[in-house]
């Protein structure tokens, strides 16, 4: 059965300060060489989906620059391929809501022109590696027009969003906004019959200012919705604290193997062709992720270093995320710091954030 994909990227967060001044949440750099939307695009591509739409945010510059015509995800195609569709710009971007009906209605043609049976709709900002094919085959067997993907909230995690009440057969009976450990958290991803989705848009057109999930919740008694459990890693980034933590998750052996070193389903991104990393004689790198093009003379611990970063002699970088093209001077010290692109830290400067309040340095800053 043919399935197409729609990635919702017209939402943002106010928690990131300067990091989202000039870019969308979907194009936030992550993990040394990725942007958050790479996960949604790679999951589509690795599941054999060759027609993918993106609902773009108003500040789509960095997103469009990154995804281009979709070649890294094999979406630069003649049949199908990548469709970038502007989201609605009334309130600029929604905060929290992933599936604003107004945005989806603006893509009506995307649904109408294709002859696919199903559409997978997903968020653009979670770090995960999911194979959609088992979801598609489960949905195929189900009588329900919608199957929602959920994950049991791991103990100690504080997920925000929608939680599902499931009955014994796995049907969704209710949608809540309160969750607790082991709740069934809606992973901002579902599969829907394409024709049902077109009908849905007509039925609820007057509620276009609402999120599709709210509409479903309010009309639960008329809905037949199935569920599908995702058991893998789900990295959710709500704020700079999560940002450092979910980046550091890349140093976890199991997560690295599941999400990033998965031979069957690699995470693709725009290639930049940087040279290998040079570790100088006195370099001391521990438990860290380093991207191509870096030259490292100093110490790096529990940190994520993006492309083409130079770290000087006796410099110390700990518990930090350093985005591309940073220059960290000799003897500089950074702990719990996030630096955006092209940041320069001059020799000897010391910057300390804390675990709960990391320091964020915006693009091109020189300190």
């Amino acid at each position: 059965m043919k399935t197409i994909g729609l990635i919702s990227a017209n939402y943002t967060s106010t928690e990131f300060g300067e990091l989202l001044d000039n870019r969308s949440l979907a194009s936030l750099p992550y993990g040394g060489r990725y942007r958050l939307i790479d996960f949604a695009l790679s999951n589509m591509s690795n599941s054999g989906i060759t027609t993918v739409g993106i609902i773009a945010p108003y500040n789509s510059g960095s997103l469009v620059d990154h995804v281009g015509i979709g070649s890294p995800w094999s979406l630069g195609r003649k049949s199908g391929g990548l469709f970038i569709m502007p989201g609605s710009a009334y309130g600029l971007q929604s905060v929290g809501s992933r599936f604003l009906l107004r945005d989806i209605i603006k893509c009506r043609k995307f649904f109408e022109r294709d002859d696919a049976d199903y559409v997978i709709m997903t968020n653009s900002t979670d770090v995960w590696n999911i194979d959609f094919r088992p979801l598609i085959s489960q949905h195929e067997k189900s009588q329900s027009p919608i199957t929602m993907v959920y994950k049991k909230v791991p103990k100690g995690e504080d997920y925000q969003g929608f939680f599902l009440d499931l009955d014994e057969e796995g049907k969704v009976r209710n949608i809540n906004i309160e969750g607790y450990a082991w709740s069934d958290y809606f992973a901002d991803c579902f599969i829907v019959d394409r024709e049902y989705m077109i009908d849905f848009m007509s039925w609820y057109e007057t509620l276009e200012y609402m999120d599709m999930l709210q509409i479903i919740r309010d009309n639960m008694d008329t809905m037949d919705i199935d569920s599908y459990e995702f058991k893998g890693y789900l990295g959710k980034i709500k704020n700079p604290v999560d940002f450092i933590k979910v980046n550091q998750d890349m140093t976890d052996y199991d997560i690295r193997n599941e999400v990033f070193c998965n031979d069957e389903r690699p995470i693709y991104t725009k290639a930049q062709d940087e040279a290998p990393v040079f570790h100088y004689k006195d370099a001391d790198v521990r438990n860290s992720v380093i991207s191509a093009g870096c030259r490292i003379e100093g110490r790096v611990e529990n940190s994520i270093i993006f492309r083409s970063v130079n770290i000087g002699k006796d410099a110390v970088v700990k518990n930090s995320v350093i985005m591309m093209h940073a220059e960290i001077g000799d003897g500089a010290v950074l702990n719990n710091v996030i630096t955006d692109k092209y940041v320069t830290i001059t020799d000897g400067v010391k910057i300390y954030g804390t675990k709960d309040a990391p320091v964020v340095l915006g693009k091109d800053k020189k300190i």
Binding site: G31, M250, A275, P276, V277, H279, V289, I304
Partner: protein, 376 residues
């Protein structure tokens, strides 16, 4: 089709048998180099930075990995409408098929291909040299001098000159004598195996050479000496940068160490004349909590738990806990177990070593370990 000022023909068909186990199942130009590159990247990237967008790649020996690696040429910005890369293997005609019998013979069999582009000049390249060069500078000299053939040369130490094809020139740079590996060289200008021919002249020379029963159909041995004898206008172009023919295991090892130790020579970090490659789906490298890396080049996709000193780790290589690697090159996707000792060795692509393995000797020659298990 648009006419081209100059197209390139890249010779990539030789076996490179002196590289031993490195080329048992892979053509020499596709052998890994400098961690994330393959040897052919240098020639193709030079073409890109010189504005040459049409390249014929002549393949013959075990070309499957090479063909796949080159693909559409997109990695070198050569997926263009009027030109691009073309893989050119030997093919059959009305009277059967023939293998390429020599460098000149390979080009002879593709005369029709070159004619399609009606180029003024044809640049002949080897797929197994490590260097960065702007072919435009050479082409400009070639055109200014109205040369029939321009041979790129590099000064070599006098005591090594007898290992090369040596060009003797007059004051204008016109070639007066060409001697292949002369016992007593009277010049130290060595041919780099890079030629720009006027296509009309080369076309005729190839047709003549094909008719010559005594010819071995080689540019250096047959075609160029014949052109010299025929009083054609042959000039040298002096190249001053870093250039290595990685024909032997030792030169292959040494030039990779050069790339790491002395980035002035061939700077892969620089933004101008960048070296491009097709190997980009690896995550960034992960360096473990007890790892110890110094003086080394490490690629994307590597996972390092052990100690790595003065070595190169290729894309996707894994180094286990307690392992010590010194003065070695680990080719892409090799997995080195725990508590291994590796010294002065080249670990072949995709090879998996057992725990506690000891490979290479402190004072011995560099060895190549294992048979490549390839995937791209």
């Amino acid at each position: 089709m648009k006419k081209k000022q100059c197209i390139a023909m890249l010779l990539a068909g030789g076996q490179g048998s002196r590289l031993g186990k490195l080329t048992t199942n892979i053509a020499k130009p596709a052998v890994s180099f400098g961690g994330k590159y393959r040897i052919i990247d240098f020639g193709l990237s030079n073409c890109l930075s010189s504005g040459i967008d049409t390249v014929g790649i002549l393949v013959q020996y075990k070309p499957l990995i090479l063909n796949r690696y080159v693909g559409t040429g997109e990695s070198w910005d050569m997926a263009v409408q009027d030109g691009g890369v073309h893989i050119l293997p030997p093919y059959a005609g009305e009277t059967g098929g023939e293998w390429y019998e020599g460098t000149a013979d390979a080009i002879y069999h593709n005369i029709d291909f070159i004619d399609m582009y009606e180029p003024e000049n044809v640049l002949i390249l080897s797929g197994d040299h490590i260097y960065k060069m702007d072919y435009n500078l050479m082409l400009t000299e070639h055109i200014d001098k109205n040369a029939d053939l321009t041979v790129s040369v590099i000064e070599v130490p006098w005591d090594e000159a007898s290992r090369f094809g040596i060009m003797s020139t007059d004051d204008e740079g016109r070639i007066v004598k060409f001697s292949e590996k002369p016992k007593k060289p009277d010049s130290n200008l060595a041919s780099m195996g890079i030629y720009i021919f006027k296509w009309k002249v080369l076309r005729k020379a190839l047709l003549d050479d094909h008719e010559d029963a005594k010819s071995s159909h080689d540019f250096g041995k047959d075609v160029i000496p014949k052109m010299l004898a025929d009083k054609k206008k042959l000039f040298v172009y002096r190249f001053n940068g870093y250039w290595r023919d990685v024909g032997t295991v030792k030169s292959y090892y040494d030039s990779q160490m050069d790339l790491m130790d002395d980035m002035e020579h061939i700077n892969v970090f620089t933004k101008d004349q960048k070296v491009y490659s097709n190997s980009n789906f690896y995550p960034p490298q992960f360096i473990g909590p007890k790892a110890n890396i110094s003086d080394s080049l490490i690629c994307n996709g590597c996972t390092v738990y052990g100690t790595v000193t003065h070595s190169i780790l290729g894309s996707g290589a894994v180094v286990g806990d307690g392992t010590v690697i010194e003065d070695s090159i680990v080719l892409p996707n090799a997995t080195i177990g725990r508590n291994c000792k590796i010294k002065n060795a080249i670990i072949n692509e995709g090879v998996v070593t057992e725990d506690n393995a000891e490979i290479g000797e402190a004072d011995g020659d560099v060895i190549v370990f294992g048979r490549a298990k390839l995937s791209i």
